[in-house]
Subunit: 386 residues, 2 copies
């Protein structure tokens, strides 16, 4: 086990009818805020009226940044920064899924920073004194509601990059599973894959002696397997939505990472795929995860893939190779059962793009920690997934 | 799943050589502190010198409250409060196990409170504006290093009562597993039982649809089963000590409780046993847990005891009654393998005390939530454990 510093500071209000906590939370931080949201779904749900009524009743002045897209754009971030500066807004309320929350975090980081906010993503500068952020989550998947991560797409450079800072953890997040009842089937499914992938990226680690972390990871994976299909069949099943929503937060709030070096190669590859095609993140992960598994499992001396197959899927048998193969097949079948495409060619990638993509993903070094991957490795994975 | 508010605010510095974090943490809160510790072990370990050197170098003035006992006494709490008031101390540094930390929390609550600090424990008043607390943990078990609980013994009334408040969560805790290498065998074993029992008290719940919480609980239980015996055999095995220490914190930092109603009947009974006999908490729990299980498992329509036997102990079979019985037998055998006594008569309880104890434990109501227990039930459990 590696040394670590545990610090998960976000307060979470979890459960039905928890929106009213905005009343006492927001005034702790500011009286002038930016209200960030995505498409029209929060208006259809009646949440827009509910939230603006709360803001008005409590004399909280607000400007709006609507229309934040999936794979949120740097342009939205810049627009939000401008609004905060022009109107002296001191707090960001993000209402939506991970894209909206990520966009709000990037704005929060950018307001006090004089230069281009893309600098946070290229590593040119670090986050300092961001504005505080609060969230109301309406889609389970990214885990952004409890962590300090934000992923932003720069369409000028065709890059999708992440920033990470404990300072960007939301001050509070409101998680009402019933707000996810109306999430469309495809988006629910993509969220489940995203959760599952986040757990795997941390499960596959070169760090030895992480028993408790690994058993917790398996607990979370099995929760996805149990409740994912239920949520798709019965979108208004509160328990399924609640189990997935809480699992989603635990999957990426750092709990699984503490004490471990983690992999994240599949995410690095996927970010390129969705920067090139604008495919939903979870869809890209569903295609790439089994391809990564097939490529990497060949060399797995510690038997992490055996663990995975046995403990998550209950696969029995004596031959390691067969056990591992079955675990990967089960994973593929699970993603397919959620309605996910299985090939890169099905989501708009052209075969002649693969080499450039591999080059761009790896840059001058390597990606991944469970297994280091160079450009040739990444090209093979992309080819396998094509 | 029940609604819940997640708020685990303690920063944890986990790993080898983390003591130096005191240097930047304490000055965030105060320049005059009370240094609370227990017996001479921190002097034998050289920690006393190391810590006081840090305090001196960083110009942090301190008074000492040494000699805090296991099952810490109200008298120590009052002495600590007096020292803080007399010397205008504004922060508590607790170095030791749960008893030392609990004592420091009670002092922290009591300093700004005009009346008897026992009032927090009887429920006469609530914690408000406590002094901040930081800890250096030297024994794994109670989980006090990340939670807002404190248990104090009042020898005048032969009561051992708890106070709970998020305000009493330590600001920071330093968890260096190597500091537990020299914990004596008996105390290590009692700590393991304590951790195991904390998990069970939350695992056995009347709340349905808590799949992810339950699978995480089983992950933690299995970590105790795996690493408890290793830590006893090889006291300086860093990985075993690290897994137990982190499991101990996760077991009682609220993670397992969120979304659930939890039981705590066994703890209520044990607190009386150790108030009467001064037996170590974990020893009392080792005796009482199987007795509680045997009494309560007879009525378990939801099959939680079947889950427990199958998922924690891997017991197979088709007959529910036999599966449950085996699970309880395995639990008993595990505690016995740690060197725990198995009968109340072995730890100084007299048979003619049982009726009065049952009466005093239950008071005018009932205890437990998984199964409500009245005085007759508790008497039966005590008799079974005698």
């Amino acid at each position: 086990m590696e040394n670590f510093i545990y610090s998960i500071s976000t307060r979470v209000y979890f459960g039905r009818d928890t929106l009213h906590h905005l009343e006492h939370e927001i005034p702790r931080y500011a009286s002038r805020i930016l209200f960030v949201y995505g498409g029209g779904s929060i208006k259809r749900l009646g949440m827009y009226e509910e939230i603006t009524a709360i803001l008005k009743t409590h004399h909280i002045a607000y400007e709006e940044l609507p229309g934040v897209q999936p794979n949120p754009r740097l342009a939205s971030v810049k627009e939000g920064i401008r609004l905060c500066r022009d109107h002296d807004l001191r707090f960001l309320l993000a209402v939506g899924g991970g894209s909206v929350i990520d966009c709000a975090k990037a704005i929060a980081a950018g307001v006090p920073y004089k230069d281009d906010p893309w600098d946070f993503f290229t590593g040119k500068t670090q986050v300092q004194h961001p504005l505080p952020v609060g969230t109301v989550l309406t889609v389970a998947g990214t885990g952004s509601e409890m962590n300090g991560n934000a992923v932003i797409t720069n369409t000028d450079t065709a890059q999708k990059l992440a920033v990470r800072s404990d300072l960007l953890r939301p001050q509070f997040s409101i998680l009402d599973p019933s707000l996810t009842f109306t999430v469309p089937r495809e988006q629910t499914a993509a969220g489940i894959v995203d959760i599952y992938s986040h757990i795997l990226e941390q499960y596959f680690s070169p760090t030895p002696n992480t028993y408790v972390q690994d058993r917790i990871s398996e607990a979370l994976l099995r929760t996805c397997l149990k409740y994912g299909p239920i949520a798709l069949r019965e979108p208004t099943n509160y328990n399924a939505r609640a189990q997935l929503m809480w699992t989603s937060s635990l999957a990426l709030n750092s709990l699984l990472t503490y004490g471990k070096i983690t992999d994240w190669a599949t995410h690095a590859i996927e970010h390129k795929v969705s920067a090139v095609t604008d495919v939903t993140h979870g869809v890209g992960l569903a295609i790439l995860t089994p391809a990564w598994m097939e490529y990497v499992s060949a060399e797995d001396p510690a038997g992490r893939f055996v663990d995975y197959a046995q403990r998550v899927w209950g696969i029995e048998g004596r031959k390691r190779v067969a056990i591992v193969k079955k675990g990967i097949e089960k994973t593929k079948a699970f993603f397919a059962s959620l309605g996910m495409p299985t090939r890169l060619k099905d989501v708009g990638v052209q075969e002649n793009q693969l080499q450039d993509m591999a080059h761009s993903i790896v840059g001058t070094g390597e990606i991944g920690k469970f297994r280091r991957l160079n450009e040739t490795d990444v090209y093979s994975i992309l080819k396998n997934a094509y």
